[in-house]
């Protein structure tokens, strides 16, 4: 085998090697597992905020209405407005997976804050206005 032929064979081997490396590395380059998990968490945060506000606290009164009632310290289902936080907290705990950290917050006349988002990579629901002065936020993240 002449020198020229050996060089050609070497070149072919290098090209083959590069092609093989590319085939093996493509799935790793294209794969983005975290993105899917992140999308589910975002979806979950929005859904949970809606679900909580719509849930019935007593016949004819949803959590949303009771939050507004508590702005004027006039609860219809509960003895006092302090109980509202624990009720909402209980609802969230029974619905969410244990590996998720949450923070439910109502900014307004009566500020409600349940849970604590003590992790860096958080996913917030879109805020939902309840009245002119109050908005509801829900933040989720994985432990």
């Amino acid at each position: 085998m002449g020198k020229g032929q050996l060089e050609s064979l070497g070149l072919v081997l290098i090209v083959l090697l590069l092609a093989v490396l590319l085939v093996f590395s493509l799935p790793f380059l294209l794969k983005d597992d975290n993105q899917k998990e992140d999308n589910i968490l975002r979806l979950k945060a929005d859904a949970l905020r809606n679900v909580l506000l719509q849930a019935s606290l007593c016949p004819g009164v949803a959590i949303k209405e009771e939050i507004l009632n508590c702005e004027f310290d006039n609860p219809r289902c509960l003895d006092n407005c302090d109980q509202l936080e624990s009720k909402i907290g209980e609802m969230i705990k029974t619905t969410l997976e244990p590996n998720l950290i949450y923070e439910f917050r109502v900014d307004g006349k009566s500020i409600i804050q349940i849970g604590n988002d003590s992790c860096l990579n958080t996913f917030s629901s879109a805020s939902q206005p309840l009245s002119d002065s109050s908005k509801v936020f829900l933040i989720l993240c994985e432990k």
Partner: protein, 144 residues
């Protein structure tokens, strides 16, 4: 020299073949998972599940619809709605057990496979007879 090269080339080709088979399986699993995520966001708003009142569609799942619902052709997965708040009896829901039950099975095609992934999303459960709204999870298990 040529024999050694052919053997090495053959081994590499076999490796690529095996690797590609596994990759195709992974891609198929990924597609099935993506389909489950899509179902998770679309199902609660589908007319099969959604509660509506005089054509006013609410963002709630009608539990009476769940009792008679059997979805079809959704691949190897199970779909169920589970009431989480308030807690009720750990029972499958049927006309006999409703509403004192917690699990509504709406689709089931199980594959004997170790590889399964569970995803869920909170949903509002509306009970038309008592006009109450409770909390549940739509749970989709995808089999790989």
């Amino acid at each position: 020299m040529i024999l050694i090269f052919t053997v090495i080339f053959g081994i590499v080709l076999f490796g690529i073949y095996r690797y590609n088979i596994n990759s195709i399986q992974d891609i198929q699993n990924d597609l099935e998972e993506s389909k489950s995520v899509s179902l998770l966001s679309q199902l609660p708003m589908s007319p099969y599940l959604q509660y509506s009142e005089l054509s006013d569609e609410k963002e709630m799942v009608d539990t009476l619809k769940l009792l008679n619902l059997e979805l079809e052709n959704l691949g190897f997965r199970t779909i169920e709605v589970k009431q989480t708040y308030p807690k009720v009896n750990d029972l499958n829901c049927s006309k006999e057990t409703y509403p004192n039950c917690d699990t509504y099975g709406i689709y089931s095609k199980v594959k004997a496979s170790q590889d399964k992934k569970i995803i869920s999303i909170p949903v509002s459960l509306y009970f038309p007879l008592t006009q109450e709204t409770k909390i549940g999870n739509l749970v989709i298990t995808t089999y790989g």
